[in-house]
Symmetry: C2
């Protein structure tokens, strides 16, 4: 075990069941769930890839509870087994509160309950586990209040924003970024239902799942050209679970377009690829099967080895093992991917 390098895992999906949240929910929202069996809107039309839905079947608990819902099971199956130094929880309340299309007060109450549940049952129970502030950002001001409320928790590393039908670069949402920056939090972005196409689902899960990277590309582009990083020069964004092999294309493309069309967005003061290098990190999962040569060609095309951060995506079906999902890279690069890049990027980890 002593030869293992530390692992900072930027994407672990712990899961709350509704009954877990009841004790943390205010009335009347508690009763709507407890007595009326209300559940959040869900849309995905597909049969999902495993008998556990999107999860690894072996991560489901012996009593049938969903994968990711139990600390001890996760400790045993993931943290102890792999030897994580740090695991960053990114949540799984279906869907994210920020994705609810109505009743924003319920969404905000759920986010609050979720954060309290997360702090009490995870962040304060295992020193390796860090967390994410969940918000209902469609109600921007409620989201800011929630960030003010729990954002100073020493183990809260980021504010989660889902990729759904909102493009987060819209100036209406900038105060959310301001609040995050103020509390030494970054933004964690993770797709939820997109990529749907014109609001319609593609016919197959494999299509939908293949195109997740396109949604990541759109949000990065949107945030850059809407001037988020000129307004919040210390803000970081972790793009979670979209992979990374699209990054060279995106850097070249945005630089090209910036050269041609920057007059339209005079508030963008730098080449987009430089903004990306400073302000964005991309988690490695789901890592495509690359040879070392292919992997290194991506690093070379990006012009930096500091943009990628390892993640497992536990307990999802396409979990990436730290020993098997990437080619056998040189030690310096491995250290950056597996812990140095993430430690440097999350303000609250950067003093470690």
């Amino acid at each position: 075990m002593s030869q293992r390098i530390p692992i900072v895992d930027a994407d672990i999906h712990e899961r709350a069941q509704y009954e877990d949240l009841l004790a943390y929910l205010d009335e009347p929202f508690r009763s709507y769930i407890k007595d009326c069996n209300w559940i959040q809107e869900k849309h995905m039309p597909y049969v999902q890839p495993t008998v556990a839905g999107l999860d690894r079947a072996d991560a489901v608990l012996p009593d049938g509870s969903p994968a990711g819902s139990n600390l001890h099971f996760m400790q045993e199956q993931l943290l102890d087994d792999i030897g994580h130094e740090i695991g960053i929880l990114t949540g799984a309340l279906d869907p994210s509160p920020s994705s609810m299309h109505g009743w924003y007060e319920m969404a905000a109450a759920l986010a609050t309950a979720y954060n309290d549940w997360q702090i009490e049952n995870w962040l304060e129970k295992d020193e390796r586990i860090y967390g994410s502030v969940h918000v209902a950002a469609q109600d921007r001001d409620a989201a800011i209040k929630e960030i003010e409320r729990v954002g100073n928790h020493p183990k809260m590393l980021q504010v989660m924003l889902p990729m759904d039908d909102i493009m987060w670069g819209d100036p209406y949402y900038h105060p959310v970024f301001e609040a995050a920056e103020k509390h030494d939090l970054i933004i964690g972005m993770h797709h939820n239902e997109p990529p749907v196409y014109y609001g319609k689902w593609p016919r197959y899960f494999i299509e939908w799942h293949s195109m997740i990277s396109t949604t990541h590309m759109k949000q990065v582009t949107n945030m850059i050209f809407n001037g988020v990083f000129e307004k919040y020069p210390n803000l970081g964004v972790m793009m979670i679970e979209g992979g990374f092999t699209f990054v060279p294309h995106l850097m070249w493309k945005l630089d090209q377009q910036y050269r041609d069309l920057r007059n339209e967005v005079p508030w963008v003061k730098e080449k987009p690829s430089n903004i990306m290098k400073k302000h964005f990190r991309f988690t490695t999962q789901p890592a495509e099967e690359l040879t070392k040569k292919e992997f290194m060609s991506i690093i070379e095309q990006m012009g930096t080895d500091e943009m990628l951060c390892f993640s497992t995506d536990y307990p999802h079906f396409d979990y990436d093992s730290p020993t098997r999902s990437l080619p056998n890279l040189d030690s310096d690069l491995k250290e950056k991917l597996f812990y140095k890049n993430a430690r440097a990027f999350y303000p609250k980890l950067s003093n470690r």
Copy 2:
């Protein structure tokens, strides 16, 4: 001039004005345009990048007629100047007939008139000029009739399908592919209004324009997983004006997903990257500014130098010059990019 290599230009936008089409339009559609000043729906909310809109200002005719609307001007500015061997017209009737959201009969009548105008005024006036069959594919059966009507013209190389709110892999549209294949035509795909996001435009043209590649990625993915190429093993698709640096990512991603999830789409019999290599070509424009090393790394990642075909996109503002848009590549590769790949891919050019 003799040292120039032949150039096959896979994307030239000739433009019809409505008055050009009147002579080719049947009643009552002719009168709706002539007497009622009907025009097609247009949505793009942005000021566009040049004083000529999306066009090169120097391609506008001296009398103010739009860029691309006059054969002699195009001959002089493009074909003679560059020394094109072949220029393939892809059209510009705003928007494509296949993008009209209602009154499909008018859309089909416009497509028919456009094709007749194109044949008489372009294809039969210059031996270098080849063309595209325009259809209103939202009325599938009307589209098939139009392909039957003009698809055998020796200079018609492809059927144009716009990328809009239809995902063309949907089995409803497969008979269009069948008709194309039967007439030795390929499909030419070109974005129209996407990438809009959930049906909404991003705030800025630069965002919209940067993300065109994501729409190309979605259509390729959709066609592959909907089994188009198992049904039509000789069908080719030219992805036009989306660039190419996203292609390695897409190949890796689709192969990865196919390994994980192919049980969902058992009709897909081959690795998606192999399907792409056989059935798809990508035009080079708008080529990002790549060094030779970067360009070659993309070729290496794709595993083939036969997937890219040069295009200028004349007369659009981001026109690519054959001498200045690509790095100084070795002769073999240049020959493939500039003419061999395209000649081999269009059935009607492959005997040349």
